[in-house]
Symmetry: C2
Subunit: 332 residues, 2 copies
DNA sequence: TGCTTATATGTTACCGGTAACATTATTTAG
DNA sequence: CTAAATAATGTTACCGGTAACATATAAGCA
């Protein structure tokens, strides 16, 4: 392994000067720096991160911790990661982990990250989040609103998103709707449900009791629960079922397809997320776009900036969602 | 920051003993180890990775480098990552990067990884792969066959996969087929095309010239190219179009839907990958499963084992694909 | 020209661990 | 019961950088 000392010897300067050459903000004559770069390149020198980290206490690693690697937003993962990379200085590594898999916080997390972006879907992550806080690890939580005023936070206005959808459904002339919601442990579930409830009273829509179902954000439950809804007698069966995410909506499509029920003529369906498949389904899914990649991107920017200069005021930002009207809701 | 010396002082032992307590293979009395663990836990000690890495030259970071974060296998990303985590000791971090984004190899890669899993789709990655080789960084290349006998390699038998599909299509009574293939720079494109060609001659199928189209593995080209195929007069138009991946097949579905062409009655379609949406499409897509998560998982296992004890014989393994018959190919 | 200030570079201690080697405590065996 | 073997722990140099401080060189100015 070639070290800073060898470069120094060849260049006829001290180690410190070489060190300076590799530290952008250090003061050094540009000409010297270039000469050192040239030599370093020739003999294949690259700074040893461990040695550097030992003294600076930096790791040049940013962590993205998701509630679980497998979730309803797994289709977003590549978007999230590439958006993060766009906002991340090249000398940082991006480590992707699942909160649900951490066995030993000390081993996995402590002393390993300069900062962590928590993409959190559930209050179950709070324990982890507070451990980060206690260890003074710079952190931004996205996706879910946190009420702790000391935690930087970016989230989306899910309630408003669903409300927009319900208003639209009402305008299309629907009178009875069903709702396939997410698991109760997810905060988004609560906000989306509130959106549905608010929307229904505001528009005098009937939210059919027997057509309120609890799913797990996966397509299989979407399908199964939609099958149950389709068993309902036609007079009370809803004409539109709103699903708490796209994956369940796609499952619901499948249930209709198997029963020969035409979408949207005989059954309208909406989703939430606007994931990459929703525009490709047949018919294309009317849904609500969820600014997940934007949250990740903004979150990382904030994180980097916090690492470089700690902030005194909290970031607490809500990002808008947007109704994406496609083909899965009929005009009645 | 609490160091090993403080733990040592409290425990009344030397630093080395504490160090041993935290190194699983070190020889130390179990009783002493437990006592040290207890103290460490009390005062919140965790080993400093940088200091440790400085002397051992280990980083406890594994890299996964994908040709590009955005590719036809972006839907696999969460599968790949979680499969990798399943095979990765907890003290390793997993860094996810795109080969196409590396600006400075020295800065981003050198001295930063104990080993790297290269998920490679294209010969364009070779430059990167050979740099890893030159720097003696342990590496396993998956997804694409490499002919260099010094590089550990796991790939899938794409040609056989497509061949199985063509045989099946022929058995269903089809006579004329079309082919929407991938970009020429991808190795898989070549192997899949060869599978199609072989299958056609073996089964006396006509591969319609005007229905051979070059896509980019994205759903949009799948749609556009299928539209072109649908323009063909009915007498020469293929009755089945094989798509080189699922995403393009889904795009092709969309083209048919918009033109009111029934799948599979009026047009049969197949894909490749068996990604998570192929079972959910309407109709469900007949496709070929691609053992990407298995490759990632096996690759990581090999990598870890290579890091722990360097291997002298090369790993060169082909994994089988499997025809998944669903609903998108009609019997004629 | 000489003195002050700014710029560029050098000297040295130290960051927090680990490995080699040395030493002491404990077993084992004759 | 003692010598030899084994287990457990200690001492110390060092891994490859950086930061604080010291010094040398160049530039600015009366």
């Amino acid at each position: 392994m070639v070290t800073i000392r060898e470069v120094a010897k060849i260049a006829g300067v001290s180690m410190t000067t070489v060190s300076r050459a590799f530290n952008p903000k250090a003061v050094i004559k540009e000409e010297t720096r270039q000469r050192i770069f040239k030599i370093a390149d020739d003999i294949g020198y690259a700074p040893n991160i461990s040695a550097r980290g030992l003294v600076t206490n930096k790791k040049f690693v940013i962590g993205v911790f998701l509630s679980s690697i497998h979730t309803d937003m797994s289709t977003y993962l590549s978007d999230i990661i590439s958006n993060i990379h766009d906002s991340l200085p090249e000398n940082y590594l991006l480590s992707v982990e699942g909160i649900d898999r951490i066995q030993s916080f000390d081993q996995k997390v402590k002393n390993r990250f300069d900062g962590i972006l928590v993409v959190s879907q559930s209050a179950a992550d709070n324990q982890f989040i507070y451990k980060l806080k206690n260890n003074n690890i710079p952190m931004v939580v996205v996706l879910r609103a946190m009420d702790n005023p000391e935690i930087d936070n970016i989230y989306a206005d899910d309630e408003k998103g669903i409300l927009d959808a319900i208003n639209y459904i009402a305008r299309q002339g629907h009178k009875r709707i069903g709702f396939i919601e997410g698991p109760p442990s997810y905060e988004n579930t609560i906000k989306r449900r509130r959106g549905v409830e608010l929307g229904c009273v505001a528009n005098h829509l009937k939210l059919v009791d027997d057509a309120i179902k609890i799913g797990d954000f996966g397509p299989i439950t979407g399908k199964n629960l939609m099958e149950e809804i389709l068993e309902l007698p036609k007079e009370i069966r809803p004409t539109c079922v709103v699903c708490a995410n796209d994956d369940m909506a796609i499952g619901a499509f499948r249930a209709c397809y198997e029963k020969g029920i035409k979408i949207p003529e005989e059954m309208s369906i909406t989703g939430f997320d606007d994931n990459s498949y929703s525009k490709l389904s047949t018919p294309a899914l009317t849904t609500i776009s969820n600014p997940i990649p934007e949250m990740a991107s903004l979150g990382i920017k904030r994180l980097i900036s916090t690492i470089e200069s700690p902030k005194k005021v909290r970031l607490f930002q809500s990002l808008p969602t947007k109704l994406i009207i496609r083909e899965s809701v009929a005009k009645i």
